[in-house]
Amino acid sequence: MATAAVLERETYLNASYGLKSWLLTKDHKRIAILYFITISIFFAIGGTFAGLIRLELLTPQADLVSSETYNKLFTMHGVIMVFFFLIPSIPATLGNFFLPIMIGARDLAFPRINLLSWYLLILGGVLAIYAMVAGGVDTGWTFYTPYSTSYANTYVIATALGIFVAGFSSILTGLNFVVTVHRMRAPGMTWFRMPLFVWAHYATSLIQILGTPVLAVTLVLILCERTLHIGIFDPALGGDPILFQHMFWFYSHPAVYIMVLPGMGVISEIVSTYSRKPVYGYAFVAFSSLAIAVVGFLVWGHHLYVSGQSLYAGLVFSFLSYFVAIPSAVKVFNWTATLYKGSISYDTPMLYAFGFIGLFTVGGLTGLFVASLGLDVHVTDTYFVIAHFHYVMVGGTIMAYLGGVHYWWPKMTGRMYPEHFARLSAVVVFIGFNLTFFPQFILGYQGMPRRYHVYPPEYQVLHVLSTAGATVLAVGYIMPLIYLIWSLKYGPVAGKNPWGATGLEWSIPSPPPTHNFDRIPVVMHEAYDYSAVPREVEVG
């Protein structure tokens, strides 16, 4: 990398060279970079599918692709985006890179397992892509039985195996993080001095550990059922298809929090840095992450209100669903309160953070609609739900991911990106996103069901708006790709701490050396103690 020429110091980037030194690395930072490249590719694939879906929906008739193809498109969009992009997105990249540094460790507890996780993700991805290339899969990312086990004629087995393998990648990452947070903290780094980013990842890891195995066994049963027809989910033999939905959502609902909690961690860091204030209510934000992780496991049945689940189970799950709203609301209120009387600068990451707070608020509040038993009957399985979870996943997670990438880019690469382009892209993403997904709330409320290839003409206007928004959104995503790569070579050299931020990662050089710290630091300050940060002017 070009940085080597400028910086004579040894960094994790120039410590050794060659493809092999990357593919066999045990350095959490290099593995994070491997993940960056991998998930960017998956994002591009998933995004292409999304683009094709939006293009097809421009008109009510089927004119771009056939029904079979359309069904494969939305399935593969979901599978790739959920299992191969969103789940690993922040934890495996930013988390992998910064979690050990933030707690003052040389590496994760199990570097080899960390590398293994990456290879598992690759293996899972290869299986999923094989399924795509061989002919695709059309069950929806939810694999509802008995369609997926007895009726679909597509590559269900390869896809399910791919997700199964990628699931282990996720489990091992979570395991690594939990052990690292428990056992690798530097002297003085008590639990309540940890950055909120670490808290969020800790909570995320708990979900990965406790939830993912259930998905794995569910997929195993799907594979058995599909190959052997032994009746586990087949009503003809006495099986119960709703059992599958319970097992699937036991993982897949908490999985939503695997995706969004790390984003919340990123936002906590960004909001604090660019207001130059500690996060308001630190302990509440920290514990709200744990509360979300725990309560998130008790609410999966709200995906099943109209599935034939018993009314009483619906009541229980609806009641508990509202409990998740509280810690989420607490976080939003605390971030907003952090701004109060702060010293706020509008750097790119902060713009993304503003976007996150706004969009997550909309996503969260519409969550109240779908958690309500009475309203959900109307809006479930419509575009309302699509819009709701895209506000959380795209408006939440991806905004936070982009914000985090911009925030830590100087630390990871040692280079600054062009600020003006970056701000522009943040604004373009925000506008494009809202234009894409806000009309879908209205569509859903008007009754447009999801996963429809052709649709009644009265919905067309809103679909056109949405597709137009998707175009803007795509531009917003491509811009950072270009200028970030450009900045690797031409960006101004970043100093140690360009933002005047707190946190151990800003106390070491950019990019960090292989072993992170010359000397394991002794932590003497609370998190976000800005009085402890030297107010130096950074020179490249």
């Binding site: 052997l228 009746g231 006495g238």
Partner: protein, 237 residues
């Protein structure tokens, strides 16, 4: 890559060996400060992994519980078709293997290399014996036409073949998954035997033996539950 930047400036308040990196050994990987820290991390990691295993089997337990309560009579009938003496014997074989495993770990703690190898070989043999007996039971099931995926499936004494099929589906899925874990366990034990012979372990560093032990005992515990669930509940005529 070990460029030696260091030690001249160790902070007085720093309780740790805070230098950048130390020479890496098996007992002390470079990311850890002390051997105790590494051992603790490894043990914790194994326990967390075992929890994921609990949840993994947990999904199957959920399905089992649902259908057992829905189809109690047929499932009781089906469980009577399993061979109780063989099941109980197999349980004992596995308990013996757990005992020898615990003894192997103990020998590891004391640094008795020969005893470690002996007990590990015994553990492996008990494990293989378990798998052999299990294999015998499965062949019997084939002969009795109790294999749900086959066209000739039939359980005598009931018209509810679908429900009976479900029982054997879960029987094969859960015991099969357990057996798979046993096979992996035997592989791990074999590896540890090999490493012990190469003098990799000492009383200061026997973590892999310890962790392999945890795994082995866990697989044992799973069987401790599978045994009553399939062989015992509603067994009485």
């Amino acid at each position: 890559m070990d460029s030696q930047i260091q030690q001249s400036h160790v902070h007085p308040s720093d309780l740790h060996q805070g230098e950048a990196h130390h020479l890496e050994t098996l007992a002390l990987r470079e990311q850890f400060d002390t051997e105790a820290q590494q051992k603790d991390a490894s043990t914790l990691g194994m326990w967390v992994f075992l929890i994921t295993e609990v949840m993994f089997f947990g999904g199957m337990f959920l399905g089992y519980t649902l259908y057992r309560s829905n189809y109690a009579d047929t499932w009781a009938l089906a469980s009577r078709s399993l061979n109780l003496p063989i099941g109980a014997t197999n349980t004992c074989v596995l308990l013996f293997s757990s005992f020898t495993m615990a003894m192997a770990v103990r020998a590891g703690q004391l640094g008795k290399k020969k005893a470690v190898i002996l007990f590990l070989i015994l553990t492996m043999l008990f494990g293989l014996a378990f798998l052999g007996i299990k294999g015998y039971e499965w062949t019997q099931k084939f002969e009795e036409h109790h294999v749900p995926a086959l066209a000739n499936f039939h359980l005598e004494g009931t018209q509810l073949q679908g429900q009976a099929k479900l029982f054997f589906s879960f029987y094969f899925a859960m015991t099969g998954l357990h057996a798979l874990h046993m096979v992996v366990g035997v592989g791990i034990v074999l590896f540890i035997i090999f490493q012990t012979m190469r003098n990799k372990y000492s009383p200061k560093y026997y973590t892999p033996i310890d962790i392999a032990g945890l795994y082995w005992h866990f697989v044992d515990v799973v069987w401790i539950f599978l045994f009553p669930l399939f062989y015992l509940i509603d067994r009485h005529p």
